[in-house]
């Protein structure tokens, strides 16, 4: 019996266009564990999170295997899934401005979650909602529970979202860019809150973010996604301090600003759109180390350290990559993506 979430060989395709946006993704989150899923926009990280709860947009189809406490999720009937959603697995969305129903008082919104999963009376549910609001750091929770979402700031609304997500004590929380829309101070508060709750309740956490700093602060493990694939995965400190895949190295260089280097680096080029991905390494066109072998054959995840995997055949050389290598490297432009 495997506890927690196991995603095995998950692929997501947009059927009509036959586009594969996520390929053969494998990850695992045990109880109380936090996994950070990092990648740039369009790398498929949000879709992965949504696929777990069966919330893919119309036209997208997931294949492979996703199990939660040994219950297979992808082929779960809708009414079974509805029992699971919110109660066992909850989700927080990126935009706190639009993810609360504007006509529902926030206390009522939280109480609804409780009542939809447990047989409690409305007074009890409301009292618990107020407790939850207090727990996520809203002052005057009793009074504020009667307010509408538009009377809250972005950070406060995200706290309400978190309170709603936690209302039924889920065993796993999927947080899709939970702090992206917030300023850094509020962001720090939310991240601290998530960590506290995780330790306190033994809740698993999948943190989807494009921000390495956020992921580094919260998660035990990091998986880096690029163009629909996991390109590197390992314990957070391992991945951030000893990255093996050139893309991860580039990402870290983008965030870090050394004293020697006054300018922010970027990785020149853009990820290949999902229709035009080559057989070989998808990062090859932007990689300063790419050789012909990278482009011609599929690269699989290789063991590069304790519990640390990277999808690269030149990890030995990659260690010596510096930000300057990225800055001076000219990305190759394929014919297909030249017009982008």
């Amino acid at each position: 019996m495997s506890k927690g979430l196991v995603v095995d060989d998950l692929s997501i395709t947009f059927n009509r266009q036959q586009l594969e946006v996520v390929n053969e993704l494998t990850l695992q989150i045990g109880p109380g564990e936090a996994l950070g899923l990092v990648g740039e926009s369009g790398s498929g990280k949000s879709l992965t999170a949504r696929a777990i709860l069966g919330l893919l947009p119309t036209g997208a189809v997931a294949s492979g295997k996703v199990t939660f406490d040994d219950v297979s999720l992808l082929d779960l009937p809708l009414h079974e899934m509805q029992k699971l959603r919110g109660a066992r697995i909850a989700m927080i969305f990126q935009d706190p401005m639009s993810s609360l129903n504007p006509v529902l008082r926030v206390g009522e919104a939280i109480a609804q979650v409780i009542r939809s999963h447990e047989p409690v009376g409305s007074a009890d549910a409301h009292r618990r909602a107020v407790d939850l609001m207090d727990r996520v750091g809203i002052r005057d929770p009793k009074e504020r529970s009667r307010a509408y979402p538009h009377q809250f700031s972005g950070g406060m609304r995200q706290r309400i979202m978190i309170a709603m997500a936690l209302a039924a004590n889920p065993a796993l929380l999927l947080a899709d860019e939970p702090t992206t829309a917030l300023d850094v101070v509020v962001q720090a508060g939310i991240l601290r809150l998530l960590t506290e709750l995780r330790h306190e309740k033994g809740m698993g956490l999948l943190l989807v973010s494009h921000d390495l700093a956020v992921v580094g602060r919260v998660s035990d493990r990091v998986a880096v996604m690029y163009a629909g694939q996991i390109v590197e995965e390992g314990p957070t400190s391992e991945v951030l301090l000893r990255p093996h895949m050139p893309y991860t190295i580039g990402l870290i260089a983008c965030v870090r600003r050394d004293r020697a280097q006054a300018r922010l680096t970027s990785i020149p080029g853009t990820p290949p759109p999902s229709g035009t991905r080559s057989r070989g390494c998808r990062f090859a066109s932007r990689c300063p180390l790419a050789i012909d072998a990278c482009r011609s054959t599929p690269v699989s995840l290789a063991h590069v350290g304790p519990d640390h995997w990277a999808r690269c055949i030149r990890t030995a050389e990659a260690r010596n990559l510096t930000p300057v290598d990225f800055a001076s490297h000219k990305p190759e432009l394929d014919v297909e993506q030249g017009h982008g």
């Binding site: 919330l55 919110g86 609360l100 006509v103 939809s116 509408y148 538009h150």
Partner: protein, 291 residues
């Protein structure tokens, strides 16, 4: 419909907070509409206290009298007091408007909600039904249905409901389409709520505002429709007082004794105007603070 998340999600729902008073042209027209409408409703309710006459009592000795102190609006060809008839008729006409709006609003909203929410074949089915009904001229279709079912108030309601639900369905369908992509609907799904709960508690309250604004102009239209059909003999039957019917009965005296048609005509215009003003006021509010 702007979906920009940067804008405050503030409230098109201030729409419902009628108590909030804002000075300006918009609130003036709204206030005038509300006042006028309230006066008509009160006049209808307290009609027996406002006039000593029975609206259906015949008195041939005083037929076709000009307005005077004893008969402020004059009398018709059967000697009935026109003021009494106009006041009692308001009861019927207000009811025609209310029922003619309520049923289509309910049925149309649910249909539109279902079509917009589920999409697919259900949407195709409801969408085609809407298209078919809209393809016919509104009045012609209503008259045709009443003619088939037979004249009378109940059949008039049935005909109006059969025809005008599509207008509400179309509005709700569009709104639901837009709202379905909003994150709070996705969030509601992620919390394990059932479709029914999401539709009626999360989508409907956010989608209903434009339909309610439309309902106001539809109310005026239904009052006129009721008068029109009664005029043609398809709606309210004599001797029940109804404004359109009063005009129909008295139209041959129109040139010589104009008060017999003037006052019921003015009543129709006034009620329509008041309701339209309310609708305008609501629409302005909805537009000004749209999400």
């Amino acid at each position: 419909m702007t979906n920009s998340p940067a804008e405050p999600l503030a409230t098109r729902y201030a729409l419902f907070r009628g108590a909030r008073i804002r000075l300006g042209k918009q609130s003036w027209s709204f206030a005038v509409g509300i006042c006028g409408f309230s006066i008509i409703v009160l006049a209808a309710i307290f009609a027996p206290m406002l006039t000593p006459y029975d609206p259906v009592a015949l008195d041939f000795s005083s037929a076709l009298q000009a307005p005077s102190w004893s008969h402020p609006f004059g009398t018709d060809n059967l000697g009935r007091d026109v003021l009494a008839r106009v006041l009692y008729a308001a009861r019927v006409d207000l009811q025609i408007g209310a029922i003619g709006v309520a049923f289509p609003l309910m049925i149309g909203s649910v249909m539109g909600l279902l079509a917009g929410y589920f999409g697919g074949w259900l949407d195709a089915l409801i969408g085609r039904a809407i298209d078919i009904v809209i393809a016919f001229p509104f009045l012609v279709l209503v008259i045709a249905i009443v003619a088939m079912l037979g004249p009378g108030l109940v059949n008039l309601y049935i005909a109006v409901t059969l025809v005008s639900w599509v207008l509400y369905a179309r509005i709700l369908r569009g709104e639901t389409f837009a709202l379905k992509r909003r994150e709070y609907v996705l969030a509601a799904t992620s919390l394990g709520y059932s479709h029914a709960r999401i539709m009626f508690r999360h989508v409907l309250p956010n989608a209903i505002a434009p339909a309610i604004v439309f309902a106001m102009s539809d109310y005026a239209l239904d009052v006129q429709l009721g008068a029109t059909l009664s005029f043609f003999g398809l709606g309210v039957q004599p001797p029940t007082p109804e404004w359109g019917l009063m005009i129909a009965e008295a139209r041959s005296f129109m040139l010589t004794e104009p008060w017999v048609v003037l006052f019921p005509g003015l009543a129709i215009v006034t009620l329509s105007l008041c309701v339209s003003l309310i609708g305008d006021g609501l629409a302005d509010r909805a537009r000004g603070i749209d999400v």
